[in-house]
Symmetry: C2
Subunit: 429 residues, 2 copies
């Protein structure tokens, strides 16, 4: 038995507590797989007195998390979060001190990942972040190691459990977004300030990380097009079902001839697609490689247990001396494939208008689409109510986003169209 791997943990919230419990409850399993014990020896957290289910006696306590970088522990685990502030400062300090770092911080990796990778390379130490994407599902390892022989053409995923839970409940119970969000907050499935989740930022951080790994290029959070789920309505979810789709908030990164497209937005996906059936708080990631074909990974994307599982996997890798460059290849070996703006996106669209039911309206709407070269796959109108406001649904064939936006501007300006059109991109399986 070699000597234990000693660990300094910053942040003892839900995940930190889970980590302490896992290392205690599964000490035998972890020791066997790591080849030596893994022991937390130092911690930093805001509240010293809070009960975490595991006694902290005997551990070195630091009020300032950044001071952990100078502790004698072998590895620093950063569970503070946030792209700026003490989490970032600690990771920078630890790497500068030549200490391996394990973090669950997706915002930090998405925003400052290139700079941190350079720091890790300079120091020759691992910076591991399995817990940053999709909780306990080993997607980072799968993309960076398991599928490493492939040219990845597309990676897509349900990356935010809160959004998936809300969309699932909206569909199952036919309820509106605001009601379900309020309920989710009561149940603890959504934060009291939910913007980060429901506006798609959290999913975009994760997608930026997956895209960098999949395409072997520097992480580019700013290049991700982001839309959240606030505007998804029960009406559109109903129409989606009628048309054979599910509405999911997906993060999608795709290699196109023009470069890398990366976007997070509500999508209509065919009901038969495996990802369409991933409901509730579950996450899933689909990767498509030129040799492996399509691989899907599915599981719990958040919570104390799954996230601790991912952190410990990284610690076991470090204990065994296994390491991988932060972005799968050395910084110098990354490619510089350009980012493609959303305006260049090509795909099919679902379009739902609220129109006054009177002769000529549909003709006006479809004329605007035709003028932009957009052809229709199908149209749906529920009942007839002359003079009343009724929903009209149009599904287009593949077209360019720029053309669709031009058409929408003109359609929205028509007298008979009352409300902003609802637009949802259709994503193939």
């Amino acid at each position: 038995m070699t000597r234990p791997l000693s660990v300094a943990v910053a942040g003892l919230g839900t995940v930190g507590g889970g980590l302490l419990r896992l290392l205690r409850d599964n000490a035998d399993v972890v020791t066997a797989r790591a080849g030596r014990p893994i022991a937390v020896t130092a911690v930093s957290a805001r509240d010293r007195s809070r009960d975490r289910g595991v006694p902290l006696t005997g551990l070195r306590w630091y009020d300032d998390p950044v001071a952990l970088a100078a502790d004698e522990a072998d590895v620093v685990v950063e569970l503070i979060g946030g792209s700026e502030g003490p989490g970032r400062a600690l990771v920078q300090a630890a790497l500068a001190a030549g200490k391996p770092v394990v973090t669950a911080n997706k915002a930090l990796l998405a925003v400052h990942g290139a700079e941190l990778a350079a720091a890790a390379e300079r120091a020759g130490v691992p910076l591991a972040f399995e817990a940053a994407v999709a909780g306990g599902i080993p997607v980072i390892k799968a993309l960076r190691e398991g599928l490493a022989g492939n040219r990845i053409t597309r990676v897509a995923g349900i990356l935010n459990g809160t959004c998936n839970y809300i969309l699932t409940v909206m569909r199952e119970r036919g309820r509106e977004f605001a009601e379900v969000l309020a309920e989710a907050q009561k149940l603890g499935y959504a934060e009291s300030d939910p913007a980060f989740d429901i506006d798609g930022i959290d999913a975009a951080h994760k997608l930026a990380i997956l895209a960098a790994l999949a395409f072997g290029r520097p992480v580019a959070f700013d290049a991700v097009h982001v839309e959240g789920i606030r505007h998804v309505s029960a009406l559109d979810i109903g129409f989606a079902t009628e048309l054979g789709y599910r509405i999911k908030l997906l993060g999608i990164a795709r290699r196109t001839e023009a470069g890398i497209e990366a976007r997070v937005h509500p999508c209509m996906v065919p009901q038969a697609a495996p990802i369409a059936r991933v409901d509730g708080v579950f996450n899933a990631v689909v990767a498509e490689g030129d040799f492996v074909g399509r691989v899907m990974l599915e599981g719990r994307g958040a919570g104390a247990g799954p996230t601790a599982s991912a952190v410990v996997a990284d610690l076991i890798d470090i204990a065994r001396g296994r390491s991988t460059p932060v972005w799968g290849a050395a910084s110098g070996a990354l490619t510089d494939a350009p980012s493609v703006p959303i305006a260049a996106h090509v795909g099919a669209y679902y379009l739902r208008l609220m129109v006054v039911d009177r002769p000529g309206v549909i003709a006006d709407v479809t004329a605007e689409l035709r003028d932009q070269g957009i052809s229709l796959e199908s149209m749906l109108q529920r009942g007839r109510s002359p003079g009343e406001v009724v929903p009209v649904v149009l599904v287009t064939h593949e077209t360019r986003e720029a053309a669709m936006r031009a058409a929408l501007a003109r359609i929205g300006a028509l007298d008979a169209v009352l409300e902003d059109p609802a637009v949802i991109r259709i994503e193939p399986a």
Copy 2:
């Protein structure tokens, strides 16, 4: 750039050809992720003249695969297959010569895995086998590294694409096993000698490997209970659908209070279970860990591309110096959890009898079940045909396999029961 990793490949069939093509087509990606080029420098195959889509000029050729162990290449890749013979001899010789080995050979690992792990440990070199289970899906890496912090309670999977394809077509087209098998053979989805696949042996090899990794104990192929799909009938597939199930050939390994249960057999799984929807040649593996919860991985389980993808992932690990003990922990750190015989299995059962439709038959059958302490959840009988032979379906509550077998022996002996009862174990999601 460090010097290339040189590779000697034994066996240039479908997978070997795929490997050569991957290393040629994706040389840039592989080099970036491996940190250096990976180059095949020596090969051995039966037929020197066959066109593999990649020229073999400049490679050292060996007629005897075992001679590759003495070649100067850094790594030996064994793609010959079979638990005995030249594949085994090559792996033994390469490990004895202190050379890392990558193999796709599930039979070899399942039958001689303990001995080979000891040899790899003595030599201090990796023996990697991602390609041995579920093709390109990185399940070995997921279990051995990604979920390494968990106490795994259950691992289950669709591990044989041929069987899953046959069962899928039987259900979709309402056809019988023998017809669909013949068709699958014509299409190349089943071997001309299909026994290895359809009798469950191939799935059992893979399950033995997964169980060893999941539970951290020596691989025990002989302890796997194996049944194939020859006896699955269109009639039972129809009843399964009616009852809300799908019939799948699953490999299941489970930790019970008495020890480790490992079995391969047709199962009824609830239609709503994610694994029930994995159709055609696709494979899937579900792992349940105490911290991570349930994780499912899904993708193509065979074929040149997916298998080559897995072999290259192992080669990249070796090029980067990443390695893991063969069974996830050193041989000395494996546990000796006992194997549980199938007679001790506890679960629900589907039972389909062909009985003469006359008064008292159901009473006789249910009395035999009652006498063994088996209670019924439901019963299904299609129509009434006095004096004719009709199918009767019984679904039991949880009971012990031993009790079920005792009841079946007596039920089979009843005058009115004509044919051997069809019995299919019901597996929870």
